[in-house]
Point group: C4
Chain length 292, copies 4
């Protein structure tokens, strides 16, 4: 049911281009190794071969609190499984971002947050394991000055759309940001055969290029990257991207013509997308933070 093998020939030039990009790009910090013998463990991060980037200074405590809340909310809402992550741009320096150490989102606390530069090198990891796919964050912040927060999700409802040819369409006002289309990142175009993970800057740059100026990009056989101008906005978009996928599939199953949001309706909604978001955020946060 896949036609991927027949397309391999067409990818070769892209593979060469990706290889060139990879050669030019400075080597990223070594990625976490798989645990020996299949037993889970949290290997310490090897020392980087270059001096760590300088800190932009302490981040706004409210921003840290909201980042922790975003982790817990997205886990509680079923958007982030044990491997997803969410970051925010540093409030003092647009060339720094904040992301947890490699930990399941529902367990993330303020002390787990680490500062990174846009090459996704940590300022001071204190020997803790890092997300192998942090390059998703660094490369999107580099390519998109308007983006303040980034989510990487494996939300189940998105997987079917990522592997099909059916485009996501906005079923209702909560998901108006979908209007204009959600691109699908095909990692084979940038990296050929991979383990699907965004393990380096080259793959992160390719993802950012697919994302373009859109609020999200699906990732075939993997999940999605969602971006926004604030943590509440990226949390809301992540929740409703997944919900829209479920509802669109249900609507398609009903059959017959469907009326999606008109682009102009979507534009008018988007103009005030954050409208009223404070009250959903209050409820999400209280529910998520009261657990455990």
């Amino acid at each position: 049911m896949t036609v991927s093998r027949h397309r391999t020939a067409r990818w070769l030039p892209r593979l060469l281009a990706a290889a060139l990009v990879a050669l030019i790009t400075p080597a990223a910090a070594p990625a976490q190794q798989p645990p020996p013998g299949g037993a889970p463990s949290a290997p310490a991060q090897p020392a980087p071969t270059q001096p760590p980037p300088a800190s932009a200074g302490p981040a706004d405590p409210q921003l840290i609190e909201d980042l922790v809340a975003a982790n817990r909310i997205l886990a509680e809402q079923g958007v982030l499984d044990g491997w997803g992550h969410v970051s925010v741009r540093h409030n003092r320096d647009k060339n720094r971002y904040l992301l947890a150490r490699a930990r399941a989102p529902e367990l993330v606390s303020a002390e787990d947050i680490i500062e990174f530069d846009l090459d996704s090198n940590p300022v001071d990891a204190k020997g803790r394991a890092l997300y192998a796919e942090r390059f998703i964050h660094g490369e999107i912040y580099r390519a998109r000055p308007d983006v303040i927060a980034v989510v990487h999700t494996h939300a189940p409802a998105l997987i079917p759309f990522g592997i099909s040819k059916v485009p996501l369409q906005p079923v209702y006002h909560r998901s108006a940001f979908i209007s204009g289309g959600i691109p699908v990142y095909e990692i084979r175009q940038a990296g050929g055969m991979t383990d699907m993970l965004i393990r380096n800057q080259a793959l992160g740059k390719a993802l950012a290029a697919t994302l373009g100026d859109r609020p999200a990009s699906l990732m075939r056989g993997h999940g999605a990257a969602v971006v926004g101008p604030s943590l509440p906005r990226v949390v809301s978009r992540s929740i409703f991207l997944a919900l829209n996928a479920t509802l669109q599939a249900q609507a398609m199953a009903l059959g017959g013509p469907l009326t999606y949001l008109d682009p102009e309706e979507a534009r008018l909604i988007e103009e005030r997308e954050g409208f009223g978001l404070a009250r959903a955020w209050e409820a999400w946060k209280q529910k998520a933070m009261s657990k455990r």
Copy 2:
């Protein structure tokens, strides 16, 4: 997949009519502004340009308790997300209704309840933000003297039916009120291109007109408005409107002929729709109020 653009010409006269209605209708209290910079906040309500309506006096404490319970139940049952709302007509004055300040339903307490007149002006908002779509409530109470309680929901299961041409049909006794049809409100007919929200009296009146004498109206690309002769009834109808949508879609997927409730069966059920509702209400309330 939408045919809406081709129909625009037909709407023009309706748009003109709606514009006229809007001109005649006194300006509503200014709606809540989106938070600056995407950061969530609860902006204070600007002072209205006309004196606030007089209070009908304190409402029955039991009614307030039930209104708080209705908020929590509908959130707990998945019918109300962070943006939905539920109101009840004031027990002392049919020209007043009670609705929470702009707050997520699962967090609403007695002190959040505000009294409104049928123009949806608050008696005393105490500077708190209001639901932008409170006109749904005011205009339905004005048009439907039989209605005691109103719910505005974005229940996911209703969205697919709202954007399709498949009519809701009653699959079982719990949803007998569906018999006779649930209309679908197309905001484009009253407002052309909008941000989908019922932001003023004109749009609220158009919704009430679509609702007619029915117990609910879907709202295309948005959700639904559900009405009833009591809070328990409107809560029950909201829950089972959404459940009926799910079950009807499942039944249709099975294929073959389906036996929906006969109109006479539905009429006989409706005659005693509240029958036994007290025992479901007791369980819903205890479950919802024991949270947090």
Copy 3:
């Protein structure tokens, strides 16, 4: 989408028969009245026009405990909504059964349990409201000496099958009791146009006749009646009847030939259907009783 109207002529003789049965049958205790004005309340049971039946004496406390557990388990598992019920035959007298007063199953406690005779008259209701549909229990106990416990459910997953022509088939060992077929009770055949409820002995007898010697009967547009030789068995059958419906629909949607249980496989499983049930019962009970 319903063909029911065209079949009305065929039902007429059955309607006459049902009317005759109703004339012969002694009048049941008056059913609970709908609350006035739609406001929920628990009306007291009017005094019956004949002396109440004698008690068989106190039931085994363990049986009462299990009946309470069955109520809570089936609510916790989503099989019973606020209106469903479960009963057990009295351990001292096969002509008596035990059923809660009209209360949501998740709230039922030992003090809510009332003893009934097979005409479904209470021994001593103490003025409390009764389930209007208790005749489901009385008439099945009368017709089926092998039955020890009865569940009346509105489990959502069963509704689509009840209104379609697709027969339930056993998808796996947990639902082997489905082999041989689950009949569908069409209340129009016994009662013509009704409010769908089994409000008297005549309708209860007709349901018992449809059930025959089977472990369950769907009820079109309503739910199902499930029976078993013990409370754990009827609880298990109720859970897996609903789960089978969901899984069969999913399997049918995959398309192509499906391999249901062979009748001989089902027979061999049924021979020891209770096998290992004690361990699921222990877990269900602990989970359900630890709530609230």
Copy 4:
């Protein structure tokens, strides 16, 4: 909808072969009897007719703790119902494995764990009831030296695929182990008409033969057996085998061509399948162990 009856003739030689295997195989410990009268109970295990196997000595307490966690996690995640089980190979002796007494997984504690030899005889059951299907574990450990942990599940999402002809395909990186195919065990081939349970070594050997070198085998009309090189891996595979089934069905319902993981992608993912698993395990374990 089943073609099984027409194939019976083809099975006869296999039935004879299975019977021969059963004759050669030493009789397993007598299986648990169904409770009398349908009432749940936990019958004591009859004394075996041969001396019990010798113990390999106390297992690593960490392994026991992880086995208890695996039971609770898989119950909490909906993968194990009250009848499923999970085992681990003894850390001191590859010819011994550890499995709970016959108890619902969500209730299993360290004191419930019993040591078995590969014939699935208990070292010391202390009179407690045993899982009738423990032969799944013993025979897979015998046939697969690489396997350290085994799960037997009735996960609902797997049932439709087990009874259909649609092969499972890997929809995303979390389920890369599916690439290469998941076989379906047809118990009729080894045992003809049965009660579907793996009640003896012969049926266990046939299941192990169907499994071959794969990470899992569906079991038609029953569930699945899942294996892995560690408890976290088998837990992860069990969760994502079921999730993949759900997502593949959703993707197929969307229609059109689907891009499953390329075998080479799957191979690269599998090379580091345990990567990052420690952080999901930490979250799963904390959530599951904090209940009750």
